[in-house]
Subunit: 403 residues, 2 copies
């Protein structure tokens, strides 16, 4: 498997585009993205578990109930959530897109991201659709840009892999940044592949993967109302359709996981105001659930996050977060190390502090990617969670988001 | 019932003191507090549910297992937690205190607050005990100061009330500021009363009260390792001992609740870096558990907290936090208003936005105390939670706490 250029247009038969249509006031910022497949594709999606759900999610859920989709339409700048006419607007978005592409409205995945509770005007979307469709091409980058909100960089990746000797491609784009927390923790991820795989296997693969990736990523502990991870598989690679478990599905899942882990790390590292990517690796858990709960608790602790921002080796806060995680852990067996490209340092052994060089710890924690390595000593379950530091800029960005 | 001066020394037969003994480097900051009763008192305490527990909690739990105590010794600057010799040091603190006061070591409540995982040196405590005992008097204020960590102001209050025609007094001191989250959310609260009440009733009253007060207070979502609320009742007011439920217990619980709610509001309003006290009042819950979960979820949301810091009426984040709280709520029935001394404004009705004056909302949200009023429309259960805004200073304080 190799990482290649191209995001959502790397796989055969997919085109994408992104434009500024006028939902956002800032004309420099794109606000409407389109991804489409030459043929109707098998499709699956996973949605936020927030009871307050964006109207686009309801419409998407209905549209891909049959396991099929051909296009994704997504705007930024407005979440189309908690609005009286939300469903109607989301359906209009599908209709307009379908008409412009000459496809069925029921084959459109619709998504919105941005401020909650302000009516979304359909006019700029309607007016911009012609340009959006004309712009369709290999340009995954414009689509990746058009779904960004407070993200500081676009997130796109693709991989090439082999299924039964046939070369397949899988790629994706994501927007993240704020309101990121299990479950789900994305906000929006769109994946495309030319691999032939049944709708049922596609859904299974996506759900399994999301549990260990997007559901283990937290920026700020707030689970969004509009989270969605959607995947389309158009089969144009020409492999025999994956219809059951086995080597072919394993190869597909490995490719999927490579893409999603990369996106998670980039969502976390580009969290609102973040200066560092934090990764909590838990080993020695008595079971997977325990390892996951511990990893998430550490990565979500405001105090751990602020300490990492300050490059302060305050491991007591890591222990504290393990202690209140709700997991059954024998604290007297817990070891904690901090790891980065500058090295590794053990700071806590068997639940108590050990002598360590503060200077060396500082050097390690001043890097951009920090691993908090936790060993529970209770078994062999492992889990990884991703997050970021808590900074002045997080407060700045969220102190006045709407204006 | 009236609020009076005097904190933990307002009730008959209680003395207190606070000094700098040398645990902290800064000589301006007191770091050792003592509270004692003239006679052995009935006592009860509630502790953190964090699995990582400070050594002092273990020792206190053992010492008041018989429902009796006569003194509280508490240091700041070091939590005596996650240290190999923690229990030994905590027991030494009790011994030294008991010897100096001429009481039993088993009647001492011991507590520590500060950094986790650094050995606590007994020497300065031993050396300072003489001065600490000599300083005992009506000075609740020095004790309140000596337990502070990043608190910016001391927290003490007392009330006078009547039980069966006999005048009683109940007072308390608290330290809060960071690592504050249900359950418990304090870090340390010491209460004294001269009311005669059995150990069993005292424990019952305290546990019941804490569920609606300290367990509904969150500064940063991190549950401390050293939280403790302890109360001593020496019976010196001379009322008939409260041994069962009834009017007398009701009067006691009302006094207790007045003191604890005041302390909660002050802990929240003086949360690390806070510029505002936030209060979330939930009405119309289908049951108490639902109302509580919703109130806590709103008050804990980093995004709501940052919006309040910025005086931004971003009510979508309140809805979002209700939606991911885990409570069963019909979002289409939810109303949200913001309230302060500048007025009240409805921003969300039946789960959707309403037109409101942004100018008026700003005026309301610029005040120091903000109420987020949530109506669920599902029943008549109510609950209140307390918290604070998320600010640049929270990040600053916690980015480099240890140095």
């Amino acid at each position: 498997m190799v990482i290649i250029e191209g995001g959502v247009t790397a796989a055969k038969g997919f085109k994408a585009s992104g434009i500024h249509c006028g939902i956002r006031k800032n004309k420099e910022k794109k606000d409407l993205a389109l991804i489409c497949s030459d043929t109707v594709a098998n499709a699956a999606a996973v949605y936020t578990k927030n009871l307050v759900k964006g109207a686009p999610l309801t419409v998407t859920k209905k549209n891909i109930a049959n396991g099929k989709a051909q296009a994704v339409i997504c705007n930024s700048g407005n979440a189309n959530t908690c609005n009286a006419n939300g469903i109607e607007i989301a359906e209009r978005m599908c209709d307009i897109t379908a008409k412009a592409l000459g496809i069925n409205a029921e084959d459109v995945i619709v998504a919105s991201t941005g401020v909650i509770g302000q009516p979304l005007d359909i006019a700029p979307i309607e007016a911009g659709m012609g340009s959006l469709v004309s712009a369709l091409g290999d340009d995954s980058c414009s689509a990746a840009e058009a779904i960004m909100t407070t993200d500081t960089r676009k997130k796109e990746i693709a991989v090439r892999f082999t299924v039964d000797g046939v070369e397949c491609t899988l790629g994706g784009i994501a927007k993240g940044s704020g309101m990121i927390h299990p479950d789900m923790a994305t906000m929006l991820v769109f994946l495309t592949t030319d691999c032939a795989i049944s709708s049922a296997m596609l859904e299974k693969a996506l759900k399994t993967d999301v549990d260990g990736t997007f559901n283990m990523t937290s920026v700020d502990g707030d689970t969004s109302t509009n989270d969605m991870v959607a995947i389309m598989a158009n089969g144009m690679a020409g492999n025999t359709e994956i219809c059951c478990e086995g080597e072919a599905l394993d190869a597909f899942m490995k490719a999927l996981n490579t893409v999603t882990v990369w996106l998670c790390r980039n969502i976390a590292g580009d969290g609102e105001g973040a200066t560092k990517l934090l990764e909590c690796r838990v080993k020695g858990g008595k079971d997977l659930a325990t390892a996951k709960v511990v990893a998430k608790s550490v990565i979500c602790s405001s105090l751990v996050k602020a300490a990492m921002f300050g490059a302060d080796a305050n491991w007591g806060r890591v222990l504290c977060a393990i202690g209140y995680s709700g997991a059954e852990v024998d604290v007297s067996k817990v070891d904690v190390s901090f790891v980065s490209e500058a090295g590794e340092i053990l700071v806590c052994k068997d639940g108590a502090g050990v002598d360590f060089s503060e200077e060396k710890a500082k050097e390690i924690l001043l890097k951009d990617e920090i691993v908090i390595d936790v060993t529970l000593g209770d078994g062999d379950a492992v889990s990884t969670a991703w997050g970021c530091d808590l900074t002045y800029d997080y407060v700045k960005i969220n102190g006045d988001y709407r204006t």
